[in-house]
């Protein structure tokens, strides 16, 4: 029996999760964690070279290839960051060795779950995978066992469960819509079959289903007003998990939404999911942009920035059209890379300064120039300033949709501007001015952070044609 790449990206994390749960010692396990993530990444990258056949349970197409490779890559770099981060946590005693064993196992379980969600060719299986990913991250968020961490995990858990329930209801409804056409049985939940028959589904049922799916998976995406878990979960969990949450889990939920959007787009009678997504996207972007101003916790601030960007991405996909969809995909990719890079920086900063309070952090470009300028570069990128990739995607989103919906785009532009103001008002105190807080030298690897930033920078100027073709295919698929 041969194992193709698609099964590989599932098996490697699953097996290594078991292995890591059994092994002691953080040095070894963190290396193993990296190794597993690297192998997964290699396997995922091979998807571009050899595309396996989509089976009954697993599927691969242009859309999820992008997501899988991105997930595997960020998961790999994050594991690298995590290694140095966890080392520091052990030294300072915030984490106990047995926690670390649990942590690494969970890390691989999370990767397994995300990859499963991305590769599943079944709406039920995808749902299960996303729930698994959610529950895993709940446990990771609560790992510090502080009041705040527990409260954040609890909030995440409750809101996440509601999302689980709503998404399941939506999934059932999709099945109900598909059943009269495809017939009873598992076939009515298989993506590849659903897509071919979507045109004849009951449109009204699809509409209701999409409402539930939007709210259910939208909770995971972090759309306002379903976002409440997100800032706290980012702020209180270990920083590698914040990076994975912002960089990956939100994407995975978004992926699910996009799949369903594609389904609805194929049905001519169903209300286009566009208006709903555009509304939610705009609300999220505007809301999160204003929330940046009163933040006192550095990680929570960037969590809100993630909400804002998710809003922009959902807006772009909601508007539709080849350019906006392309922009949405690009924005999503760039946001994943940039935001995780920022969280890498923030993780080191919080460890050096021993605090996440913005008021206690200052003048980083003097005290820790590399870290400080890295953060500045990250914030510049995330604020949509050139020459970083997010500039390109925001350029495309705004310019391609303004002629169609001027007022909506105007709101979006205001949100972008307000968010920029919020980010830089905080960056000014963090990175510039007189240094504040501890001046301990940083003992961290900056490779993951700068690797991400370099990619984001390069993408802002030059995108390889292969990637572009892939994105364009996906954009066309998304309608």
């Amino acid at each position: 029996m041969t194992i193709d790449a698609l099964e590989g990206v599932l098996l490697i994390p699953a097996l290594s999760a078991g292995l890591l749960a059994a092994l002691p010692g953080y040095r070894l396990t963190s290396r193993l964690n990296m190794l597993a993530a690297f192998l997964t990444f290699l396997t995922a990258a091979s998807l571009f070279v050899v595309e396996p056949e989509s089976g009954r349970y697993l599927l691969v197409d242009d859309l999820n290839k992008v997501f899988i490779v991105l997930t595997a890559f960020v998961a790999f770099t994050t594991s690298g960051f995590s290694a140095s981060y966890i080392g520091h946590e052990i030294e300072t005693g915030r984490l106990k060795p047995n926690h670390v064993r649990f942590y690494h196992a969970m890390y691989q379980v999370l990767m397994f779950a995300m990859n499963l969600a991305l590769t599943a060719n079944n709406i039920g299986l995808m749902w299960v995978a996303i729930e698994l990913a959610t529950l895993t991250t709940v446990l990771m968020v609560g790992i510090y066992r502080t009041h705040e961490a527990l409260e954040a995990a609890w909030k995440y858990f409750i809101l996440g469960s509601i999302g689980i329930a709503l998404a399941l209801f939506g999934t059932i409804l999709v099945y109900m819509a598909a059943r009269p056409v495809i017939g009873e049985g598992p076939d009515a939940m298989v993506w590849t079959i659903l897509m071919t028959k979507a045109a004849s589904f009951d449109p009204d049922l699809l509409n209701v289903a999409f409402v539930f799916l939007l709210l259910g998976y939208g909770t995971k995406v972090g759309l306002a007003p379903l976002h409440a878990w997100l800032p706290d979960a980012h702020a209180e969990g270990p920083t590698p998990i914040s990076a994975v949450l912002s960089g990956l889990l939100l994407n995975v939920a978004l992926y699910a939404l996009l799949r369903f959007k594609m389904l609805l787009a194929l049905n001519p009678v169903a209300i286009a999911p566009g208006p709903l997504m555009v509304t939610m996207g705009l609300i999220s972007a505007v809301f999160a942009a204003f929330m940046l101003y009163r933040r006192r916790d550095i990680k929570r601030m960037f969590a809100y920035s993630s909400i804002e960007h998710m809003g922009i991405i959902v807006f772009a996909f909601g508007m539709g059209g080849p350019l906006a969809n392309f922009a949405g995909l690009l924005h999503m990719t760039m946001h994943s890379l940039t935001k995780s890079a920022i969280f890498f920086a923030v993780g080191h900063i919080a460890q050096i300064k021993g605090t996440q309070k913005i008021a206690d952090i200052g003048g980083l470009t003097i005290s820790h120039p590399v870290l400080g300028w890295g953060l500045v570069a990250g914030v510049v990128a995330i604020a949509g300033l050139p020459p970083m990739g997010i500039f390109m995607s925001e350029f495309l989103v705004v310019s391609s949709t303004f002629a169609r919906a001027p007022w909506l785009v105007l709101i979006l532009v205001i949100a972008i501007l307000v968010a920029l103001g919020g980010l830089f008002i905080k960056l000014n105190t963090i990175a510039f001015g007189e240094p504040r807080g501890s001046n301990a030298p940083a003992q961290a690897s900056y490779v993951p952070m700068f690797a991400h930033l370099a990619i984001v920078f390069a993408a802002g100027i030059y995108m390889p044609p292969a990637l572009v073709t892939g994105f364009q295919n996906v954009a066309r698929l998304l309608g």
Partner: protein, 669 residues
Amino acid sequence: MMVTVALFGVLTLVALAPIAIALSGKPNATGFVYGACLIVTLVMFLVALHSLLEQPAASTITLPLGLPWLGAHFRIDPLSAFFLVVVNLGAAAASLFALGYGRHEEAPQRVLPFFPLYLAAMNLVVLADDAFSFLLSWELMSLSSWALVIADHRRAENMRAGYVYLLMASFGTLTLLLAFGLMAGGDGAYAFDAIRAAHPTISTAALVLILALIGAGSKAGLVPLHAWLPLAHPAAPSHVSALMSGVMTKVAVYGFIRIAFDLLGAPQWWWSLVVLALGGVTAVMGVLYALMQRDLKRVLAYSTIENIGLIFASLGLALAFKAYAMDVAAALALTAALLHVFNHSLFKSLLFFGAGSVLTATGTRDMEKLGGLIHRMPQTAFVFLIGCTAISALPPLNGFVSEWLSFQAILLSPQLPSWGLKLMVPAVGALLALSAALAAACFVRAFGIVFLGRPRSSEAAAAQETDTNSLAAMYALAATCLIAGILPGIFIDALAPVVQVLAGARMPVQTGAEWMSIVPIAESRSSYNGLLVFAFMVITGTATAFAIHRFASDKIRRGPAWGCGYPDASPLTQYSASSFAQPIRRVFGSLVFRAREIGTMPPPGSRAPATLTVQLRDLIWDTLYAPIATAVGNIAERLNYLQFLTIRSYLTLVFAALVILLTVLATWP
């Protein structure tokens, strides 16, 4: 071909940034980076000059960068060639100046990497031939200059200046982005060629123009979008201030010209009303603000706003003429605008260099602490004086020429068919005349307080003449100012290809006129000869001096100045910058600034000092910017409650969202 060379130059500049980072901390880094910048920009200046004068056909290139399916388009046509000349001349002068000035920098590693990047970005804006490359370079220009503005980040006001700057710059970029979005349409035809080929509807074109005016205007400093400019320009190191004021605002003007004259096609007549009105108001407001400042560099920054107003007024006039197909008149107005672009880039850079030298020598930009520097820094004083004369639009220097051309264009306004414009243009002319007179007042004040009189502080008394590199840069600019002032015909003729492309006509060839006069329309109508005015003044002046010294007296005695009978008057009894501005403040200030003077006079016999407090309010800030800031703060405060809800309340939100969406579905038609 030309564009390839120019792009190679840009690439070299970009490559200097990482080199500068690598060199940080090395003692010779400053010299290396600025020297390299100087060489590169000089080469690019020559390239641009060559393409402007030799007029080879527009040179284009498409690189596989930027938007993947579009590529990055670059192009040198006469318009971009002219602005490349402006950019690189300013950049070369700034690099030369910085060879000396940069040595005094506290933290060169915060300036050196961004300086070449900034130069590269400005060049790229002018070279760009598609919307994406244009906006990317535009925003990169903002970003790199932001980094330069906050180079001295320990001072809170610099950080604030940088913050306001970045916000306004992004605001402008986003507005331009919207404009390009409209022009390119939903299909993303971002190449300028495609935009030119598309014919927008009248309303779309009007919207684009407004957006472009806001976007480019906010970068250029049009009132009321100028608020960032007087904060940011002075905060940067002086050679950067010179570039920001002298060159970057011109790049913004380029953006507006490119959109309004080139990409949008035929203008509507009423566009010009908006541009003219904004230009006139900007000119007067800018110089009035300038008169009220006591920070030397801020005076210069506000004066930039005034000059931008002049340029935009001329551009508005050109738009008006173009809308009615009066091509020759449009050519005159456009020439006036472009020539002023060039002139202003010269003397504003010169003045900022002078201010930088003063800052280095005395450590302060506060005019109330300066004075008497003409004794300590005679050469700086001399070139600064030339700059002051030029910017005050006084013959025989270059500022007057462009202003004179603007007035000549205004005098053609009776030929316009529109009554609105017929009545509006002379009023704008009055505003321009007022601003020119006030500019002269402003620079009498600036030069008089800083360089003349007696030193008002010990730092000013101990000032030293600045270094040779700085002086060389300033002398070069001053000489160019003089040449452009006395031989304007050459410069007007050099602008002809640009004007020909944009306005469809050009001004008559000037270099053929006798005695190098400039004759915009016909000699019986108007003419001006800077060379002769200069020559007459020099000849009569020296002849008189010679005659008097030879035949009457040439003896000089020194004595104390008349002090009203008080011995040893302190230098502080001199007229200060604020007291110099007092008459004008009384005339205009109560209206424009709500100026109030509160004097307290101690009772007779008391030895307490009498005090006079002047309160000025920046009405534009108070009525436009402060409310926005407050509103954002308020909204943020209100929304912030959402961070502190109970889980149950969050559930309620989710629940409410669900119920609302279901209700929407249930009621969907």
